[in-house]
Amino acid sequence: MRFRTLGAGAALGASAFAFAHYAPALPDSAIARPAQQFGLPFAGPPGPDTWMLGQGYGNTTGAYRQRRRTYGNLQGVHAGLDFSAPCGTPVRSIGDGTVAEVDGPHGSPPHNVVINHAGNLSSLYGHLRVRSSLRVGQAVKRGDVIGQSGDSQETCISAPHLHLELRDRSHQRFFNPLPYIRADWDSLSLAGSFGRGYQYDLNAPRRWQTPESQPEVRRGGALLNEFARPWPPAPGGGR
């Protein structure tokens, strides 16, 4: 019997790099509410030839294991969605917007793109294979190709995936993308996951155990998952 440890693999990559960002976080009143106003970053149906949902947003067991090192600047949380896909898969803008950064300072190497959208929201596309040909300031439409998916470990066979984040435009707040993106998330969660569910705090075991209840992240805030009684245990205590 394995509580929440089915499956294999581990957390892949992150965008948590300790670049300084001193712009203040935007208040709730300035940020568009989630209304499924965005689309998926890939075209066509998921499957073993195309793309699949690999790891969800939030307090995943994979993020917990690397809460101090990889995710230390993101409160120990996987602050985006991972989509597995073969290297070179066209990545599409999740909404209308303007290119804000190409290989800017927001991590998720080797290459990334940030698009600004209405409602002071920004989407980040990480681990892209090559530098995007887009220019900063260029307008994009939802579904436009903005780059090619790559591999966080840069081999195209180790961990090929896209890391997608939804942030406030000041890059201080990281939102759960699920209520913002129109998709059949329960079906997408059926196959392809390399995660192992969410990390438990045994003092409050129902907390953050559902996809829609995952916490928002503030850059540089205290770790949310430095649990007194974590489950499952991280091999070696976690890093």
């Binding site: 892949l12 149906p45 969660s189 059926l190 003092n203 996809p211």
Partner: protein, 321 residues
Amino acid sequence: MRRLLSLLAAATISVSAAATLPSQQVLSGTCCPGAVWTPDSKALLFLDGPPARPATGIYQVPATGGSVTRRFSSVAFFSPKLAWAVRPGNGDATTLERLSDGRRFTLPTRGADVTWTRAETRLAYTRSDTTGNFDRRLSRVYVADVFGAPRQVATLYGGGVSGWINDTTLLLSGKAQPGVRDRELFTLDIRNGARRTLGQALSFRGVSLSPDGAWVVYYVAFDSKARNGLWIRPTAGGAARKLDAFGAYRWRDAGRLLLIPLQPDGSPHVLREYRMRENAWRTLGDLGDQVRQGDWSVSPDGQRMAYLSARNGNVRVLNLP
């Protein structure tokens, strides 16, 4: 053209005509992910605690619904037959306790759970490096008899134990050398070290042995058109079958595999059954609902299925037709 249209209509009807399978909600209050069956198939076990329940532990609910009771007062990895509790410590050592008499021994699993033989008298575990590329990390595979000392039986890169085929044969996947592209799926006789390679692919995902160990199902993704997809193959060697379906799957018994197709169009999840002997599919029905978080399981007797409902996050149970 008219004939083609009528054929299409017939095909559509045969797919959508699946009846909705009646199910019963057995837990409430958004409870609980990760429920597993008791070995007798009569109840479900789940982790819960404050504030919903007075203390954290493993709770039990009858498969037909009813009152919840606490089954174990501490959380652990419990063996499938509930004969053992596996409790990792903060360092290397993991304590394994036989629940019938409380007798214990320790193994240096470094936080990992173990994989039990069917009799739960022998186990295997994998110790892997925690840094480096995922497909190149060194893993060492150990086996031990209960109350015995571990013995290393394999060294792999980007792999580990998939299960026990029988009391003396492991199923493993991984690479022999860190720099090569493909992993191997292979069997290993732990008595003499004899290996049998079953297949090669970029990666073997979702590897699951049939309850009798005779078959293994897995999928390959993002490799090549010829390799990608869902496969079933005999563990004794022989040709693999590529199944013309893809999605989430669980063994129902030694001869039947259940599958929920990956079809993200918002429609209720459909339950299909593949029969090994006939090499044929039938549709059992739809759930009138969706499974949340890929969280579903089949009772050990193959009679029932439990799933986490997307409607409200509670566990539901249905009788399989």
